[in-house]
Subunit: 213 residues, 2 copies
């Protein structure tokens, strides 16, 4: 692209992102059915024509939201594979995985989309499926690949890496994710409070999957 | 109550339950906003007048749904406290807890209500709060009380019983609960498949919280 085209592309991307951010807010606040395209356009400060042109219809906006979230999960653990190869202990390795994982998932944006996808899954099963496989599923596969390295290095004993990845995810996210879902007024867990959940999860996971003597 | 009054009470209770079951279906299928009181009345085969008389309005129906689910959690683990006192090992005790727990929570009725509560939490924070504290929270407190017994008997080492209860819940429910939320077409996990998740969760939890030598 020429610099001029590139700048235009960036502007379009930024505008698209702003529309999607506003749409997520409106969907979560009013429900998918309750949020009209008039409201979406007003919140995003664009015309309804622009909205239709870019996304087709309201369904298209929702689909683009899920797609964007899935695209953002570009193997966030890829960089961690080398950490797995060099970590001096299972606990150190699991701690770095756990921090990366909770940082990626315990954020307000992801938690709001999670709420919307769960709410609309009966009406949009294909979008829930996409979120499940391309978002959630990919992080489990990446986690499992990291745990396999630790098993090979005999730092942990992990007979079923995918099941173990779910265990680690459950230990780390069960508390913050449920609180985000059932107490939307509370801030998404962060800082010292999240650190404590992560540390406890790391300790429990590492002990459960410690090498068998 | 006289037998005649009792029979009438039972009939009213059964009718009320049938209306709530139909309402939960309609809410999950069409969303809270999308399910009109006309639809709720038609699905439940009652008049709109009856619906208004019994529940006030649509909000009242939703509130009654959450209340019913919370009432059903009448300390399902109370009967297990004696099991905790007599179990011959930590693993046996945790297995009986885990089976009771997943049986209570991994059922289609609870999972559909869970979806509805998550969907509507931004608009009905007080109902999400009720579900969280009176439903979810009570099971965690009961689980924690059971784990405390096992710690006292030195079958496990449980420094923070409530945190440990969340860990057990996460290990057992993370997989079936997420699948139920994101793949609503799939049947709620049960039978051999659920047994495997429970067995793996029990093994991991018991090893992580094994007595410190």
């Amino acid at each position: 692209m020429t610099p001029r085209h590139e700048a235009q592309h960036d502007r379009e991307q930024a505008k698209r992102d702003a529309v999607l951010d506003a749409a997520l807010d409106a969907f979560v606040q009013h429900g998918f059915v309750g949020a009209s395209t008039d409201l979406l356009a007003a919140r995003a400060a664009v015309s309804k024509q622009t909205l239709y042109k870019v996304f087709g219809d309201k369904r298209g906006v929702f689909s683009a939201l899920v797609q964007r979230a899935c695209d953002a999960v570009v193997d966030p653990f890829a960089a961690l594979t080398s950490t797995m190869e060099s970590a001096e202990s299972g606990e150190v390795a699991v701690r770095s995985l756990a921090r990366q994982f909770t940082q990626a998932l315990a954020n307000p944006h992801i938690q709001r989309l999670r709420r919307l996808v769960i709410a609309e899954a009966p009406r949009f099963p294909e979008l829930a499926q996409m979120y499940w496989e391309s978002g959630f599923g990919r992080t489990i596969v990446s986690l499992a690949a990291c745990l396999e390295v630790l098993d090979r290095r005999a730092l942990l004993t992990v007979p079923d890496p995918e099941r173990a990845a779910h265990h680690l995810a459950g230990l780390l996210l069960w508390i913050p994710s449920n609180r985000a879902m059932f107490d939307p007024a509370a801030a998404v867990m962060a800082g010292d409070e999240l650190d404590l959940v992560v540390e406890d999860g790391v300790r429990v996971f590492t002990r459960a999957y410690a090498p068998v003597d």
